[in-house]
Symmetry: C2
Subunit: 539 residues, 2 copies
């Protein structure tokens, strides 16, 4: 069940140098504007962003033969070398991406090729392999880890393979509760198609309005309703993949022991092994009821205790999330309740959808109360739902106001959660201090498992002369801290290029050798998304 | 929660040519003995099995240098070339394995090496790689798919690497609900160690009393309580693996998006990529309560409808299983109620453990009743629990009586379940008919998922002169039928050597290439379990 807005396909193209629908840009709430200098010191407004028409990009490195080969496959209309399209495919939506989009000179892919079928994807990969062209698979364009950088690696040029024409509901098996969707179907389109048949997927990451089903799979996305419906990983029952050297149709049956589960080789592969063209997912009937309840805890630690009890018992809410004291305070400021600032402890939002809501809510209430939680009614939980896809809009307004804003995330076991949170916060605070900036750090837990949970951080800091360089240093320190403190380098943003240098510390040298071996086998020319997931240009 | 018997480590070594503790051999119930000729026609008692001392095996192909190298690593006591140990490690516990164990001439590994630590496993793999020796990792010895055949492939000799000295609880994180167990810990030992601390794993496959934690992981086991606690796949949070070319420690955190989940590369790998030496698993507090309820349905189809409703709603029983009419009838015969034979439709057993049993039972009752089920009380469900690990004992008695008995299993989506069941039953019936045998086929559903379920078949037939050859032909036809009808080649028995020839039809040629690429990278000498999972001797 999603809000009315989300039901409808989002037709407006994403703002070229920011997030989302330009018509929905958000001004900073007055209270936040008042608050920022108090938290971050003097803020200097940055230079205005460069207009799209003034952006300089290199000439396309593709020759006429390259273009003709692609045109023969996808049609002339679907091979695009316009400057606007190239800039629009020049990266994802991390804060560094947006800062780069504000610059007069930018890098960009040499062309956009829009494949319209699995067979066209296969043919495009074949052309690229033969003609020494790197290929960046492109879905909704919402990567925040550099997975869409126009990186040609050791190749002659780089093509953005836009997959959004692969759209639609391919099959719905109502008895089995399983739907096959074309990989380029966006979140809202997928939900609209399913809801028309009485079903839904229930996967709502913050990127929902633009991201695609194939992107969710390739990046191991996790949505806001993960407590109820699971991570996207858990929803996927099968995939179809085009690789440069052969096709795959994986996930023949639920509950198989027919060798290793190869679907899992492609979930999280971010386009380095092949291009996911179809995804089969578990669906459920559209829930008829939704109930909200917010809770307040003395502090983050007691909130974590409450979430742990709920996650380990099971059968609780569909959504459960805990904001720490700093995030709770800013949320209150945003809705104009600045007077109560920093006096409210840590807040928890719960949402219940589906069946047996009364029982599940009573059970959850009992566990949260045992951990010291006090129910604060529906209001705050509804406020969260209202604004849950708006965070990225706010970031654009902050950047305009001269405030650096970025998010990052990790996960660990329950017993290690506080240690990891402290390590990340220290790395952020110390990192920005070393750059001469004050920072304000907020943290929430939004995905819970029986054995552990995610940690999601939002950091604000005054923009300095070169925020891109500064952030690279700070983020590097944070990644080191995550690894030292036993966290994963990503809970749901994936690896991309930004985390690739840390992956070996997480999975070991032998783990990286497994990834390289699969890559060499499926993509011997190394054309697919060079430098993503596996650090280094070649394979 | 397991029965008293299962709480205690099973000290009796497994019967060398049959299942389990020789002291627990079961006579066939009189009703079954009466029934068999009616179902299968005239049965001829076979030749008595050969005593262990009379079995002829080839001389060990290992030389003194080989033995000295292993002795230097594991100690002289743990390198074993005795005929008894070699025969005891000559295979698993499929019916073909047991028929082979009844023969005067048998194949066997050239030695048994019992590694006592991760480091010793690493050193043994290194010796084997250098000395051109195949290695068969050996846990509980309960494979029913030929994964333990003493296959040397293209190598000079073959060593059985017995892992049962790797036993014990390495760590218990009570806050996170996570335990690390040495891979050679048996099911009962693992439960006893955990129960002493107030926790349990809740994984009870029929092999439970002998199989090991590492074996559960390597074969993607699924236990009787899978509706409540999930398949073993779902319980595993991390693994440690020794490969011939490097170590791995995988599963750093719950809910990671740090590239593909490489834990899943090793679950189901059956020792072809490396040797699992430690497994981290999710555990839960020992449940305080257990409630049983049996149900009767008009027929198998309406029972399937009931199970589907329960699986798709979630939050139901810990155990749910449906026996078809044929299996229900024989179960009744076993407990002496032969009078009611074939008049009872299909039976469902449900067991509830843990919290909120009242609510879960009421919810399940509502759904099963909607599908036409009628509650038949506790008795039949308790009978099932009583005898749930005894099936393999009964098989030995049947073989002694001249009755061929074997099981096989698959899974598919709910919408395809009846089609797949019909296809397998026809292939079994027609296959035995072509061999001149009458057969009796029973089927149950014992593992349910939101999108589908398993099908488990037990077949009885009169033994003929060469049952091994006959069964190979029948099973081959069944495997073809499973693939044609869209099923998986295995739901929880795994691939081993017996299913390897069909795996390519399930995962495609490109899928097999992925497995080969990983194998070449980690085990370039190809020493690990040659011919298992990936068909063919070499890599």
């Amino acid at each position: 069940m999603i809000d009315e807005d989300g039901r409808v396909a989002e037709d407006a193209p994403m703002r070229w140098n920011g997030w989302g629908d330009p018509a929905k840009e958000k001004d900073l709430p007055r209270a936040v504007r008042t608050l920022l200098p108090l938290l971050l010191g003097r803020i200097r407004r940055p230079e205005p962003a460069v207009p799209l028409a003034d952006v300089a990009i290199p000439a396309s490195a593709l020759n006429e033969e390259d273009l003709a080969a692609f045109r023969a496959v996808v049609g002339a209309d679907h091979v695009d070398v316009s400057a606007e399209s190239r800039v629009r495919h020049a990266g994802g939506r991390s804060t560094p991406d947006l800062l780069r989009r504000r610059m007069p000179r930018q890098d960009a892919p040499d062309a956009i090729v829009r494949a319209g079928s699995h067979a066209e994807v296969v043919a495009c990969l074949s052309i690229a392999s033969e003609r020494d062209l790197a290929v960046i698979p492109f879905g909704g364009g919402t990567s925040v880890v550099g997975a869409l950088d126009p990186e040609r690696g050791l190749h002659r040029a780089v093509v953005s393979l836009d997959l959004r024409r692969l759209s639609g509901l391919i099959a719905l098996d109502e008895i089995s509760g399983e739907a096959a969707l074309a990989a380029g179907t966006t979140g809202p389109d997928a939900e609209a198609l399913l809801v028309a048949r009485g079903y839904e997927l229930g996967h709502y990451p913050q990127s929902f309005r633009y991201a695609t089903i194939g992107g969710f799979a390739a990046a191991r996305s996790s949505g806001q309703n993960s407590a109820g419906y699971g991570r996207f990983d858990a929803m996927v029952t099968g995939i179809r993949v085009a690789t440069p050297t052969g096709d795959l149709e994986l996930g023949r049956s639920p509950g198989s022991a027919a060798g290793p589960d190869l679907v899992r080789v492609f979930l999280g592969s971010e386009g380095i092994f092949g291009v996911i063209t179809e995804v089969r997912v578990r669906v459920h009937p559209v829930p008829r009821e939704r109930v909200f309840e917010a809770w307040t805890f003395r502090d983050f630690a007691s909130g974590v205790d409450g979430l742990r009890r709920v996650a380990q018992r099971g059968g609780g809410p569909t959504v459960i999330r805990l904001s720490d004291e700093a995030e709770t305070a800013v949320s209150l400021a945003q809705v104009g309740r600045i007077g109560k600032l920093l006096a409210k402890g840590a807040s928890v939002v719960t949402v219940y959808e589906g069946e047996d809501i009364g029982e599940r809510r009573a059970l959850t209430a009992e566990l949260l109360a045992q951990a010291g939680g006090v129910s604060s009614g529906q209001g705050a939980a509804e406020d969260w739902l209202e604004g849950r896809f708006d965070g990225p809009y706010l970031r654009d307004s902050l950047l305009d106001a001269g405030v650096f804003c970025e998010t990052l995330e990790t996960a660990t076991t329950w017993s290690n959660l506080q240690t990891l949170r402290d390590a990340v916060e220290s790395a952020l605070r110390d990192g920005f201090a070393a750059e001469g900036s004050k920072s304000y750090i907020m943290c929430h837990v939004s995905h819970v498992y029986p054995t552990g949970a995610s940690l999601y951080f939002t950091v604000l800091a005054g923009l300095r002369t070169d925020p891109l360089d500064a952030w690279q240093r700070v983020k590097s320190g944070v990644n080191d801290a995550i690894i030292s403190a036993g966290g994963t380098i990503s809970h749901h943003h994936a690896v991309g290029r930004d985390h690739a240098a840390w992956l070996e510390q997480e999975i070991g040298e032998t783990g990286v050798r497994i990834l390289r071996a699969i890559k060499r086998e499926l993509d011997p020319a190394g054309i697919l998304n060079p430098g993503a997931v596996i650090a280094g240009q070649g394979i």
